[in-house]
Amino acid sequence: MNWIAAVSIASAALAVAFGAIGPALGEGRAVAAAMDAIARQPEAANTISRTLFVGLAMIETMAIYCLVIALLLLFANPLLK
């Protein structure tokens, strides 16, 4: 195993680890705000949860991007070919 492979594996792990922090904090805030809104206005729960789901998917995409970068590093690394 040469050093490019070693660095690739380490950076894939780093990408997933640190890439999960931001979306996790963001999703937590989004869910908390949605809970607050539903508690204040239970009749708007349908609209709020629909918007919440779409918003969560948007936030989650950031973590998924990191995962895809990690997979590219592990399985389709252009430097190792």
Binding site: R50, F53, V54, A57, I64, L71, F75, A76
Partner: protein, 231 residues
Amino acid sequence: MISPLDSPVLFHVGPIPISEPVVITWAILAALTAGGLALRRRLELVPSSTQAACELVVEAVDSQIRDTMRVDPAPYRAFIGTLFVFIFVANWSSLIPGVTPPTARLETDAALALIVFFAVIWFGVRAGGLKGYLATFATPNPLMIPLNFVESLTRTFSLLIRLFGNVMSGVFVIGLVLSLAGLVAPIPLMALDLLTGAVQAYIFAVLAMVFVAGAVAEAAPESPSNERTPP
């Protein structure tokens, strides 16, 4: 370890390699079409339980389109409904042992995202004409043309990566846990995977609705079909 980024080739038709997700996609399409045709032959005024379940799906799709796009759902029902049903069935096809969902492969998701990309253009041009649609790129001012153009490409790309990443990571994690911990361990993860699959199908359909609604509303600001109805 098998890379999640490439798909195994099963056989060749002439020079064209036919891979595993293509065959599974064909099977899903055939099953959905056959089911739809069989159901259509037995439509009754007093619905059977199968017909009632399908009507429930159609009405759910209709109400989502009405809520999200604020237009009459009829012109969009076929497109959005097909996207939702296909992605839903494809995500849940992992329930059949030995089947990898075709949405866990990059190519299927790329095809779905491209369909949405061209559908946005098609619905926008149909609502406001070619000139009206092209003018939406210059809103709010012509300085935004490159940004709007890049946005329409990147959001297609993010649709693709979102669906691929979510479904593929589910399959990948189940594979890892299965190889580490044994036969029964991944069952809760599979349940979570089913939930994710349903949510992702819903999200994909809602985002397609939002993109189409944006193009239609901007291309034809005061057409009667675009009238705001109370939710």
